[in-house]
């Protein structure tokens, strides 16, 4: 039988507000353990939470960006459970009335658009971290992360398989980045997700029993976890077994998951309204103002790049899904003087290559939109060759940002003067009679060699297109 995999995701994203959600401690990652804490976020007796309004604003923005209804009057609730990293023994979250609900995002996969429903987005606080140390028998706990603001984004079970799930996660990540509300650093745990997987016979309209997987810490891990779990369920069904609704723990290193708890053992969190906090109320004018602050989002950008700037769908997506790339591209287009297609090619090739190799962000380099446009314009105007452009790019990255000086010092001006090119070509042809004969004898690849010799003779300055044209004219003449 052919099966279909059904996936729903619960994504937790840490918000990058300056302070924590219920106290004034710094919201920062990677600092010395238990230094970013106070009596409030460590749940000392008698302390009370006060809500950081920025958290609500950020969450409302995410709600707008994912086409949600904003519940501008809502409440916070306590989710009760015991664990040493949860100092109050309850997490302040939202249960029946989330801040945002009934939204969607459109994902793009293999050139096709698909709409994924967003059930809800709510705000909550993060817990601390357990530390295990060989030199110490027992466990230690770091409360720095306690009270770091989170939004939980819950999707509808609208994804069919791991690739759609990955596309959905990429889309959410780029939206979070565009809104600048999360650092989106997977390795620091600033985005985490719980994965819900079920399978059903293809064509069936009923859902199978769903299994929730915890401890999925990367997007690629999510894909592996989904594929593994779907297979596990299909194999079980094929053996005639039933699927149990349960929670399993994904072990990415082993590439397997393990039973964490069955439905019967499910925790009862005993949600009830948080009495220490008042009702959240966001005036409608503010809801609208936050909507107006939302920048052009990736999907809109992709469409615009294709429609108005003539980029291919793939290139448009590659540019738009990466915020630094996208910012550079938009600025270059704004600067103007050269074609968006060439800008896109440069960014996706040389610029991306540099970023990948060095791990640097564009803002950390001397490269600006103005400089990049200048290089591309010089090439488009045949003033320098493409290879000279690359030389200039490398010089800029090395800190040498005076393009005219580079051209002068390195002698990179392109020779496009007819008579000068003619002289170079004639000299090369005269010195390479054998290649001329080879070409005429049918070995057409001799042409490349001859043009190459022209470039070499001109120290790369000759206009390659003109050289080629003249060489061909001679050879065929």
């Amino acid at each position: 039988m052919e099966y279909e995999t059904v996936v729903g995701l619960e994504v937790h994203a840490e918000l990058n507000t300056k302070t924590k959600i219920y106290c004034n401690c710094r919201n920062a990652f990677g600092l010395e353990v238990n230094t970013q804490i106070c009596p409030i976020c460590t749940g000392m007796p008698g302390t009370l939470p006060t809500l950081n309004e920025k958290v609500v604003e950020y969450a409302v923005k995410m709600g707008h960006a994912t086409n949600c209804t904003i519940n501008n009057i809502c409440k916070q609730d306590r989710k009760n459970y015991f664990y040493p990293d949860l100092p109050k023994a309850y997490q302040i979250s939202q249960s029946d009335i989330p801040l945002c609900e009934h939204g969607y995002v459109d994902i793009m996969l293999n050139g096709e658009e698909k709409r994924i429903g967003i059930t809800r987005i709510h705000i909550e606080e993060d817990a601390g971290k357990m530390l295990h140390n060989d030199s110490f028998q027992g466990s230690l706990v770091d409360f720095n992360r306690c009270g770091v603001p989170l939004i939980e984004i819950v999707s509808e079970p609208d994804m069919r398989g791991s690739e759609e799930a990955k596309a959905y996660l990429d889309t959410l990540k780029s939206i979070l980045q565009y809104l600048d509300i999360s650092d989106c650093k997977m390795e620091q745990g600033s985005i985490r997700c719980d994965v819900n997987v079920s399978v059903r016979p293809k064509g069936s309209s009923e859902f199978g029993k769903r299994v929730e997987m915890k401890n999925v810490n990367s997007f690629s891990g999510a894909m592996r976890a989904i594929d593994y779990e779907a297979n596990r369920q299909i194999e079980a069904l094929e053996r005639g077994e039933e699927i149990n609704q349960e929670t399993r723990r994904w072990d990415d290193q082993k590439g397997q998951n393990f039973l964490l708890r069955s439905k019967e053992d499910a925790q009862d969190y005993r949600y009830f309204p948080e009495p220490d906090l008042s009702t959240i109320y966001v005036p409608l004018e503010k809801v609208e103002r936050l909507k107006a602050e939302i920048p052009e989002l990736p999907n809109a950008k992709i469409k615009r790049y294709v429609r108005e700037l003539g980029l291919s769908q793939t290139d448009a997506q590659l540019i738009a899904e990466n915020l630094p790339r996208c910012r550079l591209f938009d600025e270059c287009v704004k600067t103007g003087g050269c074609s968006p297609k060439n800008i896109s090619n440069w960014i996706l090739a040389d610029v991306s290559k540099y970023m990948n190799e060095t791990g640097k962000d564009i803002s950390e380099t001397p490269l600006t939109a103005g400089l990049l446009c200048e290089i591309i314009t010089l090439i488009e105007q045949n003033k320098i060759s493409n290879s000279s452009g690359k030389v200039i790019f490398e010089e800029i990255m090395a800190g040498n940002t005076d393009i005219n000086k580079i051209i002068g010092e390195k002698g990179l001006t392109q020779i496009s003067d007819n008579s000068a090119i003619e002289k170079i070509v004639n000299d090369v042809l005269a010195a390479n009679q054998k290649s001329v004969d080879d070409y005429r004898g049918g070995k057409t690849n001799a042409l490349g060699y001859l043009v190459g010799q022209c470039m070499k003779a001109s120290k790369g300055q000759a206009n390659p297109a003109m050289c080629k044209e003249l060489v061909l004219k001679y050879l065929n003449g």
């Binding site: 749940g43 009370l48 006060t50 015991f82 040493p84 309850y90 009830f272 220490d276 906090l277 008042s278």
Partner: protein, 483 residues
């Protein structure tokens, strides 16, 4: 007359006239405590040296500058109010060694006014109880009759003030925990409007009901102390952002035209006839002085105790979950796993009444029962609020007994939790509705004090204090009990 017997406002005047020093007052109160504590047992911690040192410093410092009217006046603090550097046990084994690293908002006010903290006062464990018998450490005795309870949960706060081992004190009131012991011990106790005193630093029992308030031997002192601790606090999201008048200055015993509502439901079954008679006698006296008596009805009162014990226990089960042995306070020995550590610590660290309420609260919040209990209790709360609103269209204050009887004997109700809970029948509705209420002594039955409770509209503390002031004028101020 000894200094410890004097009221805060008398002492304040003496201090400003330099008729005595703060050190002398403090010494007098501490010596009184030394004499009465073996019999009364109001204190869990007495800070004799610190208090005297502070009083001396104050005497030197305040010779020239302006002083707060309460500067130099000794005050006792209920042991569930966080005091920086000073044990705050909530009368629980669970927090037997807990010293807060910060001061409660009210302590910032108390210290800011240069009051002298004499120590921390006994209470029912985590404020759960009506007799102070649930303290892990000791029993407190009613100074009027040492065989009887002082009421609870702020039993230490009321007993100390009654015995003269504190001039004034702070208590907390979740379902009557200030008013009931005030009534039993014959002192004045104010449960302020929810949101008028910051809860920051009050170890939470039931967050939506808890409120800190003053206890004193007279209405003027009560008004002074309330004026000190009320006010907006950005650290408490439920704190009301508003201005408050000078309550002590505003005191006025003229009740002409004051409409006093009498709800039949508070004078029915379960309330001692002698208590009803005593309360009504005081009300009739006010009527003679020009007050108008209006009959009102608060029919949902009969559901109030049930709703109260559901809501307060639900919140308590969550608020007390943090006492898990991980971070501070008691941790059991000899555990085998994390769960075992939790279970042993909480089984050994909490007393029976606290465990009973945690279980009750956990049950009413659990999946499948939430709607039947917690949600329904919240609906009852809405009815209670609505009925009070309707009543306050007909009257300015509501007069009721503060307690259904006078102080009962130690041990009398310990075997019967529901009987103990019934002692809160006159007071819980006020917390459910977030209203202010005051208990003021209105008479004696067989040598035991009776408290009259005035309930008012939100933020009508001045009206309540004035009504209580009028009763006090008729009856006379309470004196420190001699025994």
């Amino acid at each position: 007359m000894e200094l410890y017997e004097k009221s805060a406002h008398e002492l304040s005047e003496m201090l400003s006239k330099k008729e005595c020093s703060s050190e002398e007052i403090t010494l007098s109160v501490l010596d009184r405590a030394e004499a009465t504590e073996p019999k009364v047992g109001a204190y869990l911690t007495i800070c004799r040296e610190e208090a005297l040192k502070k009083a001396r410093e104050l005497d030197n410092r305040l010779t020239k500058q302006a002083r707060h009217p309460l500067a130099g006046i000794p005050i006792g603090i209920k042991d569930n109010i966080s005091t920086k550097g000073l044990l705050t046990t909530c009368a629980s084994k669970m927090l037997y060694n807990y010293v807060p690293p910060f001061d409660a908002f009210v302590m910032e006010r108390v210290n800011g006014a240069d009051m002298i903290v004499t120590g921390k006062l006994n209470m029912d464990e985590f404020a759960m109880g009506s007799s102070t018998e649930n303290s892990h450490f000791k029993k407190t005795h009613n100074p009027h009759d040492l065989d009887r309870v002082p009421g609870g949960s702020s039993g230490g706060s009321a007993a100390a003030v009654a015995a003269g081992s504190a001039v004034v004190s702070l208590g907390s009131d979740t379902g009557g925990s200030i008013r009931m012991p005030a009534s039993y011990c014959g002192v004045v106790g104010l449960k302020p409007t929810y949101g008028s005193v910051s809860r920051y630093g009050l170890v939470a029992f039931a967050s939506s009901l808890d409120q800190i308030g003053p206890l004193a031997r007279n209405v003027t002192d009560c008004a002074m102390l309330y004026g000190l601790i009320c006010g907006h606090d950005g650290m408490d999201a439920t704190s009301a952002d508003r201005e408050y008048p000078d309550f002590a200055k505003g005191l006025n015993s003229n009740v002409k035209g004051l409409k006093i509502g009498i709800p039949a439901e508070y004078f029915g079954e379960g309330v001692d006839e002698s208590v009803k008679t005593s309360v009504m006698a005081a009300v009739r006296e006010l009527e003679k002085q020009g007050a108008e008596i209006v009959e009102i009805s608060l029919p949902s009162t009969k559901y109030a105790l049930n709703a109260y014990y559901i809501i307060s226990s639900a919140e308590a089960s969550s608020n007390l979950a943090r006492f898990d042995g991980v971070k501070y306070g008691y941790r059991a020995e000899g555990y085998e796993s994390l769960t075992d550590m939790y279970e042993k610590t909480r089984s050994e660290g909490f007393g029976d009444e606290v465990k009973r309420r945690i279980m009750l609260g956990t049950f009413v919040l659990s999946s499948g029962f939430f709607d039947a209990y917690y949600k329904k209790a919240k609906l009852v709360a809405l009815d209670i609020v609505r009925e009070f609103n309707e009543a306050f269209e007909k009257c300015d204050v509501i007069a009721t007994p503060a307690t259904p009887s006078t102080a009962f004997r130690l041990g009398e109700n310990m075997g019967d939790p529901t009987k103990m809970y019934a002692a809160d029948i006159c007071t819980v509705t006020v917390n459910i509705a977030g209203l202010p209420a005051i208990s003021v002594p209105c008479g004696n039955i067989a040598g035991l004090p009776v408290g009259l409770q005035f309930i008012g509209r939100k933020f009508s503390e001045q009206t309540l204090l004035n009504a209580a002031f009028a009763v006090e004028k008729n009856i006379g101020e309470a004196a420190a009990v001699n025994f």
